[in-house]
Structure formats: structure tokens, C-alpha cells
């Protein structure tokens, strides 16, 4: 390859602004009554929390923003929500489902 790509693991932080790459598709599967994430040779079944987070992964909201939104929506302490979201997004980033 003429231009070697920088290939390092992305570490998700509170300031990260996660988004979903074009080839990752979050869809509601009406027939099966559930949300799904279509990915290369994978189908993920996100739970309700993951769906709520992923809907806010638009490249505009930071992880801190997302934590605030969900903290008020679910009436949960922001630091607890924030820790959960960071762990979830790191896992999704490692799987290539979100970029941050």
C-alpha cells in the first residue's frame, strides 16, 4: 500500500463525538418487532439502552452530551449513565459499529 493507514485503537472519551459509519445500519425490523444493527456479515440485536444511545450518535453530540440527555430522560445520575455509555461505546467502537 502506498499510504499506510494509521491503525490504532480509538479510545472513546467524554469529548468523543461518535457516529455510525455509512455501512452500519440501525433499522427497526417491523416484522420481528425489534431494532437491529446490520453490519458486515453480522446482525446485532441492540437493547433499548443501546438504541437510545445509537440514535444520538450523529457526530454532533459528544458522549457527555448523550449522557446528559439520557440522564434526564431516564432520571438516573449522570455519572452512572456516563460510565455505562462509555463502556458500551468503547465496545461498539472496537467492533467497528461506531467511529469516535
Amino acid at each position: 500500500m502506498s499510504e499506510p493507514q494509521p491503525r490504532v485503537r480509538t479510545i472513546v472519551t467524554g469529548e468523543s463525538r461518535p457516529s455510525m459509519p455509512r455501512h452500519i445500519k440501525l433499522r427497526h425490523d417491523a416484522g420481528r418487532g425489534r431494532w437491529i444493527i446490520l453490519a458486515p456479515e453480522r446482525v446485532f440485536n441492540p437493547d433499548d439502552t443501546a438504541v437510545a444511545v445509537l440514535k444520538l450518535c450523529d457526530g454532533q453530540h459528544s458522549v457527555n452530551d448523550i449522557a446528559k440527555v439520557l440522564s434526564s430522560e431516564y432520571q438516573a445520575p449522570v455519572d452512572v449513565v456516563s460510565a455505562d455509555i462509555l463502556a458500551m461505546l468503547q465496545d461498539l467502537s472496537d467492533k467497528g459499529v461506531v467511529k469516535a
Binding site: M1, R9, P21, K25, G31, P40, F44
Partner: protein, 402 residues
């Protein structure tokens, strides 16, 4: 989050009440179709291929070009699949790019909302064609390699200069903005290069690599003694993969398919027969798995005669081993029966003569010890010459048996 991989398993949701332990009965006919629809559809668009890999998953009897479905028939099948509830399609072959109408098929699949995956050897692609496929709505490319050593790769595929071409193709795929998976079929004649294959995939910018130990059906079964690695070589490569997977976390996803000759329990083949995956051959035969035609007493329907939904739900080949009621002992009373579904029906048939027997990959199979011994002996003997995958070649050599 539940991850469904590599073969997706349909999960029950509010709309899905159909029990999967039994073949479907007509009483369920009124239930929503999508509730028990396949998640994935593997489309063998053609059996033509410039490569002759001796482990090809196509049947020994290859289908000829004159019998292939037309563009319109494949497009109609895409519409039927989406309506049935299929989510992902895998465009495979043979070499799917041998079909000049691949873009036209991809376009319709994308329009009806299917996630489209191209499974290619890459050697016939051009930059322009990759761009056209991306424009048509292709979602992902899986590019196979035979080895990272160019001479050995040429020898395995019986094709000159393949690796250099694949490196170019990988670059075009990335430039077109498409995600890339490298598929590396592993056997005794390339297993020593597993670490280099992973490095190679990282350098190419792949997001994922499949370290796909050969599964021994069809051509691979015929060539088993030329392909079977020793248990020691397999264990060494598996240990390497487990170690490097963590180091490369967030850089590349490494999936490993293990050779079931060295496993304790069988693989849940296809995620269970007729549960989540449907396969369509070049001529339109609809199969529960790509190797199913090796079970000689099954009757397969063709998309020319019946709808995809009708075949999936009621086709004889789908109903025969759907669920768990067909099982004999030791499967019948086994607590794992809905985990691995007794393993692979094709392997059970090929090696025991009865597809309803436990897959000999299972340590509970009475034939397991004998079967494991075959792998032990073959992998330590000098490898014979390959029987290359080409029309008629299979007839020149006696079939391999257990």
C-alpha cells in the same frame, strides 16, 4: 447486546410465536411470515470461477452457465427475500463478478433494503467495476486470499499472479468507501502463515479477517488428506489468534472458524437446519445449506416453480431436519440439542450414511473416535496432490470416506 455470528439465528420477538422445535405445521400458516424468515440468504450467482481452489464449497457437480437464472429472476428473488424478512444477502459463487449483471442485481437488492455483501476472489475486478458496485448500493466486500506467499497462493488456486491483483482490489474497495473483510481459508499447506495473514489484512485496511479453517465437505472432503492440519499445528495457530486478537482490539476484528475434526462438540451448522439461512444455487435450486445437495435422498425445489416463502416454509428439504423432532439418540435427549442441533446433517450423511445421525464431530457420536483418528493419520502422512476444482475433475478420483 446479543451478537449473531457468523450464522444468524432468528430470535423471537412480539410478532414471532412460531415454535422452532418442530417442523412447521399448516396451523401456523396464518402467523406472520417474517417471524420465522431466514435472516440471511446466500446467493451462488454462478459456478464459473477463474480459480480452482481444492477446498471450494461448491458441489462436486458444478452447474453449467446455460442453467443460470436470468438477471430478472435474481432481481425478483431479491424482492421476494426482502418481503419474506431476509435482512442480509451474500452474493457468492463461483466467482460472482463473472456475472456481468452483478450491478443490476445489487441495485435491486439495495433498493428493497437488503444488506448486500459481495464474496469475491477479486481477480477479475477492475477499479471502475468496484466503483459501479459501490454506486449500485453494495454494502461490504469480502475478499478471499489463498496465502500471503505469492507462489504458494498461485499453486493453491491454480491461478497466476492472484495475490498482487487482490492487493490492488483491496485498495479500490477502500477508495470506494466500502468496508473490507479478508477471508483466509486455512489448511495444512498455509497454516504456518496465519500470523502474516493477519498482518496483511491490517496493512490492507481491512476491518475484519476470517481465519477460516477448512470445513470438510465437497471439494475439501475430496482433498481432505491434502488439507487437514495436524492437531498441534491447529492448536498453535489458535493460540496465536487468541493472543493477537486482544492486541489488535479496535484495529481489526478477527473471527476464527475452527476445524470441527478437532472440536469436542459439533458446530451449530447453519445455526440449525432451516432456521436462519437459505441458499440459492445458480440454477435457482433453494437449499437449507450450500452442501445440502450431498444428502442424496432430499428433494429440492426450484425458484422457477415455487415462491421463496413457500419453499422456505414448506419445502421438503427444509422441513425434514427443521427443529429437533427428527433427532435420534444421543441427540434426542441431549441438553445441547438446541445449542448445536446435532451438528451438521451433511457431515453426518457423508460419514455415517444417515443424515439423522449425530454429526461425528460430536464426542458423543459412536463414530467420533474413529473419525478423529482419520484426521490424526491423514494430517501426519505426506499430502497427496490436490484434486483441483474444475468441471468433471471430481470423477477422476475415488471419493474420500471416513
Amino acid at each position: 447486546m446479543n451478537e449473531i455470528t457468523p450464522v444468524a439465528k432468528p430470535q423471537s420477538g412480539p410478532a414471532c410465536s412460531a415454535p422452532m422445535s418442530a417442523p412447521l405445521t399448516k396451523a401456523e400458516e396464518g402467523a406472520p411470515l417474517c417471524a420465522r424468515a431466514p435472516v440471511g440468504m446466500l446467493c451462488e450467482l454462478t459456478h464459473r470461477c477463474p480459480l480452482q481452489c481444492p477446498y471450494c464449497s461448491n458441489p462436486l457437480e458444478l452447474e453449467r452457465v446455460g442453467t443460470e437464472l436470468t438477471t430478472g429472476q435474481w432481481q425478483d428473488l431479491m424482492r421476494q427475500a426482502a418481503a419474506l424478512g431476509v435482512l442480509q444477502i451474500h452474493l457468492s459463487g463461483g466467482e460472482p463478478t463473472a456475472r456481468k449483471d452483478l450491478e443490476d442485481i445489487v441495485r435491486v437488492a439495495a433498493e428493497v433494503g437488503l444488506y448486500t455483501n459481495l464474496i469475491t476472489a477479486g481477480v477479475t475486478l477492475t477499479r471502475e467495476r468496484v466503483e459501479r458496485l459501490a454506486e449500485a448500493g453494495l454494502d461490504h466486500v469480502q475478499l478471499s486470499i489463498q496465502d500471503v506467499d505469492p507462489e504458494n497462493a498461485d499453486r493453491i488456486a491454480a491461478y497466476k499472479g492472484g495475490l498482487a491483483k487482490k492487493i490492488e482490489v483491496a485498495k479500490w474497495v477502500k477508495e470506494a468507501g466500502l468496508p473490507l473483510t479478508i477471508n483466509a481459508p486455512i489448511h495444512r499447506q498455509n497454516i504456518q502463515n496465519v500470523p502474516r495473514m493477519i498482518d496483511f489484512a491490517v496493512e490492507l485496511g481491512a476491518g475484519r479477517i476470517e481465519i477460516a479453517h477448512i470445513q470438510y465437505y465437497a471439494w475439501a472432503l475430496k482433498n481432505r488428506s491434502a488439507l487437514m492440519p495436524t492437531r498441534e499445528a491447529f492448536m498453535e495457530s489458535a493460540r496465536y489468534v487468541e493472543g493477537v486478537r486482544d492486541k489488535l482490539k479496535g484495529i481489526i476484528v478477527i473471527d476464527m472458524v475452527v476445524p470441527d475434526y478437532y472440536a469436542k462438540f459439533p458446530k451449530p451448522c447453519m445455526g440449525g437446519w432451516a432456521r436462519g439461512i437459505v441458499n440459492v444455487t445458480p440454477s435457482g435450486r433453494v437449499l437449507p445449506c450450500h452442501a445440502a445437495e450431498s444428502i442424496t435422498h432430499l428433494v429440492f425445489d426450484n425458484i422457477n416453480d415455487k415462491s421463496l416463502a413457500d419453499i422456505w416454509l414448506w419445502g421438503d428439504a427444509f422441513q425434514t431436519y427443521r427443529g429437533t423432532l427428527w433427532m435420534k439418540e444421543p441427540c434426542h435427549s441431549c441438553p445441547r440439542k438446541e445449542i448445536d442441533f446435532g451438528g451438521c446433517r451433511c457431515q453426518a450423511f457423508a460419514l455415517t450414511g444417515n443424515a439423522a445421525n449425530t454429526d461425528p464431530a460430536c464426542s458423543l457420536s459412536p463414530l467420533h473416535a474413529q473419525w478423529a483418528k482419520v484426521a490424526e493419520e491423514e494430517s501426519h502422512a505426506a499430502p497427496p496432490e490436490f484434486v483441483y476444482r474444475r468441471m468433471g475433475a471430481a470423477k477422476t478420483v475415488e471419493p474420500a470416506g471416513a
